[in-house]
Symmetry: C2
DNA sequence: TAATTGGGTACCATTTTAGTCCTGTATAAA
DNA sequence: TTTATACAGGACTAAAATGGTACCCAATTA
């Protein structure tokens, strides 16, 4: 599936909700109500987002959560890595030289390039895009054959 | 992590190994030895690849596995879905209209577009690319701002 | 100082994943 | 026709990740 975890999915929804009303501070209870998810689960998600620096929190009466920076400066990659860690397709695409199978693998290099391309794509999608009801504008994908490559991944 | 499962990783390595010597038939034992993975695990992976129509098998003496079609016609997306099922980032990006949270979600549409872009990317990478030691040529990623969108996702 | 609201941690249930094993069946060569 | 080879299919188990919950503490403000 190459699937996001359910919590990541929640995180995106919650972030979008906050982004749509970024003036106000949002309590966990408000958000849980708005997105129809259990309070403790939303709370857990929010804490992870704060830890990743995407949200700021304010304790006490009238407290709550708000975006740490404009929605246009928060990317899908940011949200995903806040919950799941670095965006990478395989173990070896994050840490260089730790795979004992490297010798027999013969795929690592190109797999890492693919991983990088996906990361780039996810970095080009911002929370502002996600929260907007208008269709997102994705980068054009030119067919491989037409491209000289080294320029692309650099 | 947006990570592939370990089996998928194995599948890619095994497929690349077969692709590099596509004339011959490969037994499970040979492949397990070549990629340094346990025999039963490789066997399981191979069976899944056959079921997905990416490999053909021949029983009996002198039997083994070979590619069902040229490496240039097998994509990374094929391999991933053979092991993990359809490439999709979220539950709702595969099945339309089955999410009870759709009303409060407000992210589904754009999330699906992102998912589609990733699928397109993975479909543009072939086994021939992966098996090759030369750097893969990935599609150019133009910055979002520069693009008029509707043309892109169509 | 009381009420509100987030912070941190620990815990448990469930699901998914990975890996193994066993038995059956097809094929080719002797 | 027999026998060795090799894949097919399924059941099973162990381990890990995931998701969800509960509890208590800390900070803030009225």
């Amino acid at each position: 599936m190459l699937k996001l975890s359910r919590l990541t999915d929640y995180a995106a929804v919650v972030m979008a909700q906050i982004a749509r009303h970024h003036q106000a501070s949002h309590t966990t209870a408000d958000l849980a109500e708005a997105v129809q998810l259990p309070h403790p689960t939303v709370s857990k998600t929010l804490k992870m987002l704060v830890k990743a620096g995407l949200l700021e929190s304010q304790r006490g009466v009238q407290g709550g959560y708000r975006l740490a920076r404009p929605a246009s400066q928060i990317t899908a990659a940011d949200i995903i890595s806040a919950i799941e860690g670095p965006v990478a397709m395989t173990e070896c695409s994050q840490a260089e030289g730790e795979c004992e199978l490297a010798a027999t693998c013969g795929v690592a290099d190109n797999w890492q390039r693919v991983s990088l391309a996906i990361r780039t794509l996810l970095e080009s999608v911002t929370l502002a895009h996600l929260a907007d009801t208008a269709p997102i504008k994705l980068p054009v994908q030119l067919p491989i054959q037409s491209i000289s490559l080294s320029a692309a991944s650099a």
